[in-house]
Symmetry: C2
Subunit: 495 residues, 2 copies
């Protein structure tokens, strides 16, 4: 066995432990009985600790050194493999496994408290737990290390190579153009109101199933189940599962969530078998992963050609839409309305929600903002970005799970996903001249094949921005997104 094979065999164990933990997570959010929680937290904690110990162990360092020594004769894939694990090992080896476990357990507890606090809209109940999480995250950032800013150490987990300074450069033009666009749309003619529900959940479930089938999701290698928050999770090659939730009053909510998760799932289902269990069998970054979900949800799902095809399925499953036309439904699905809640945000305001969170995360990580002052600061920022104040903390500072789970540095992935999606879609339209005709006829295969070849098949071989540059010819840029969103929404609002 050569050095690369030995390395592969070693990391395979880490990946298999992670797959076992992923199944435990999926089950916890779908079918686990309520009294199973305590045991589950322990089992997941154990699996994650075992994987972490293997990642930071001197044995991996030795295997990497041996592999690095012979790398000049290695393939591009071998080099990517070594680069990935070297980065992961070096970043995390400074974290003592006990501290890591404490972090995992603190977040586990904080998340359970957050759920209660959100239900009761009671920030005070959550504050001490969030305080602990922030302290640990700040400590982890120091141990992980960074060049410019401690936030960069956190970003690295989700978007390798990204920097806070770079994000600021991207956010500036977004804010500068989106806020005026939002005001301009107020002058336009708003989309028609959607039919009045209730829309039966079983019919919505069938519609979501249909939508996933349409975009190419393979049910023989996955499932669609219900959960409180939609998510996609890979449990190993051949098993990529989607969950979704539905609203009786808003039929678009479940449908677009399904397309969103379906985009994530297509990425994971498209990872090449030869990358299985290597660690490269994953999206290039959270941002690139999000580009796939946003692309199918917004660029496709909220396009007129999509509705020219899909309208018949909508009417078939939800007869309340009888008498509407494709263009009408498309415009309705593209309604822009500042809302306090991120997951309900439209394409124009979504990035502003992210900019706000990024700003507040920076302040927390720098220590300039105390957890106690966070709700006040949240509401103030919400007014400045979106001109609204949340009616309560449940729909304000408590709305997202991320902070309770210690996921500082995650939110920018959503924004990067929006920007990458627009860049990729612009490139796809250049590569496939009849793309929109195909979409309008319900044929998503040309687009999916292109994404498979250009993005999915490359797994985590390239750093995210390098991948985007390879595919689109340029690195991260807000311009394609701004061009797209301005043209589209001026059309929706008939300006």
């Amino acid at each position: 066995m050569n050095h690369i094979d030995r390395l592969k065999e070693y990391v395979r164990e880490i990946r298999e432990l992670e797959a076992a933990a992923a199944l435990a997570h999926w089950d916890q959010r779908t079918y686990m009985p309520p009294r199973g929680l305590e045991a589950r937290v322990r089992v997941v904690g154990r699996l994650e600790r075992l994987a972490f110990e293997r990642l930071v162990s001197p044995k991996l360092d030795r295997l990497l050194k041996e592999a690095e020594a012979g790398l000049d004769v290695g393939s591009e894939l071998d080099r990517a493999l070594v680069r990935y694990w070297r980065r992961e090992h070096d970043r995390k080896k400074a974290i003592p496994p006990d501290l890591y476990q404490k972090f995992v357990e603190t977040c586990s507890r904080a998340e359970a408290i957050w759920e209660q606090a959100k239900l009761r809209s009671d920030f005070a109940m959550f504050a001490p737990h969030l305080g602990e999480v922030v302290e640990l995250v700040r400590k982890l950032a120091e141990l992980l290390g960074y060049e410019e800013h401690p936030y960069d150490a956190l970003l690295e987990e989700y978007e390798p190579g990204m920097r806070a300074s770079r994000l600021k450069e991207v956010i500036e033009p977004l804010r500068a153009e989106l806020v005026p666009l939002l005001q301009r749309l107020e002058e336009g003619s708003p989309p028609p109101a959607r039919p009045v529900g209730p829309f039966p959940i079983p019919a919505q479930r069938a519609l979501a199933r249909k939508a996933l089938e349409l975009i190419g999701y393979d049910y023989s290698a996955g499932r669609l189940d219900d959960s409180v928050h939609p998510f996609t999770i890979g449990l190993g090659p051949g098993d990529v599962r989607v969950t979704n939730r539905y609203s009786e009053v808003d039929p678009f909510s479940g449908l677009f969530a399904a397309l969103h998760e379906g985009g994530h799932a297509l990425y994971d289902q498209g990872l090449p078998p030869e990358l299985a269990w290597t660690g490269l069998d994953s999206g290039a970054s959270f941002g690139v992963h999000e580009s796939q979900s946003r692309l199918w949800e917004n660029q496709i799902g909220r396009s007129l050609p999509f509705w020219q095809f899909f309208h018949r399925h909508l009417v078939e499953h939800l007869p309340a839409f009888e008498g509407t036309g494709p263009e009408e439904v498309w415009r309705t699905a593209c309604e822009v309305r500042p809302s306090p809640v991120r997951v309900e945000a439209d394409e124009v305001t979504y990035n502003l929600h992210i900019a706000l969170r990024f700003e507040l995360e920076l302040e927390l990580i720098e220590g300039r903002l105390s957890v106690e002052r966070l709700p006040e600061r949240w509401n103030q920022a919400m007014e400045s970005y979106l001109g609204i104040v949340p009616p309560d903390d449940a729909r304000g500072v408590l709305q997202d799970v991320h902070w309770s789970g210690g996921m500082f540095g995650y939110f920018p992935s959503y924004m990067l996903g929006n920007l990458y999606a627009a860049q990729l879609m612009a490139a796809a339209q250049r590569a496939i001249p009849d793309l929109w005709d195909k979409v309008a006829s319900g044929d998503m295969r040309p687009l999916l094949s292109w994404l498979r070849e250009e993005v999915h098949a490359r797994g985590r071989i390239y750093p995210p921005e390098e991948l985007i540059r390879k595919v689109t010819g340029e690195g991260l840029s807000p311009k394609p997104f701004l061009d797209y969103v301005k043209v589209k929404y001026e059309e929706v609002y008939r300006l």
Copy 2:
């Protein structure tokens, strides 16, 4: 931390890995998409190997030695804990982890081939795989060690302390009395035929749900799902799941399978929290576990008082039973008819199916019978025990999964379960004078409370026969079962 606590902390990791593997097994048999199999086999193999390595490691030996040294001041529970792990460690330490993994993988493959072979009734396709399994099992028996017979080494896994010689002593009177009883029943008046189906599966599912609720199964700490073969699995405290299957033509099949699995589940749900993750949080043996399933399935589910209560639920869910009475349904559910298939066997013939398998297993393990000659030998034994010859190998030698999974020594547990169930039920009737009145009024709590206290609460603290002796006043005996079955079936057949 004292030595016992250190030992507990160590074995907890083994138990948590086993819980993760149990979830993977459950998911594989309920919700896993077909293409997920290959990844799943690897993940389960990894988890089982990690648990096995920890079991046979010198570190456990050292921890056990330290705990053993201070055991004279320990509690009964401490002694049971040390005894259990010492036995497990000493038995298995002679097995190299590579051989164990080879065994697990060979069985995994053989089980997949068996499924195909059974579908096609093609023994030749399965034979080479079974041959490999038998060879490995014989090798394992030698490594595990034994005093009298290599089969004892295998039995020890399922029924600590049991011997092949002892089983022979028990089987002799069973065969001597059951074969004549079977002939006698042919002279009696057979139970009325059941109504003609089809019986809708959703209604049967609801009826099974009701039956589990009735006997005391706690859905907040478990679930009922569909699977090809019914099973019960514990994923840790607070999470004990049941699966079931239903036949459109036979409404009793799914109902009694549910009561059977429910009996297993009540045992696991009744394990005391203080035993959680210690290894004593399990049934005393497979035989004792089976006593709980057979008790609820047969002693209760196939009793007249049960039907005096449950008949109304049967009629409510399956209206084809309108016009029948409780006694009629009871007799129908107790029909005796030699069948080639074990899982369809009645109480009178069931143990004969086991005696046959035990006889053939002995011949295979001793090397007196070759895998190639097995189908011929099976049919010959079936004729001698039950007077019938299976119509094909699917309903003959290929019917059970156990051998493909390497589970030689498992089948006797079913027979022991039948015998223990009768012994326990005789004791329960002595302890609870109005037991049958309660059952007839749908109140299963007195019986469940008695089982909880006498059996469930003791987990794996005592060796199985010691437990049975504690509860019933005597060790393993076929007499209570023979007394029960003769009286009952002469009544059913009006002799």
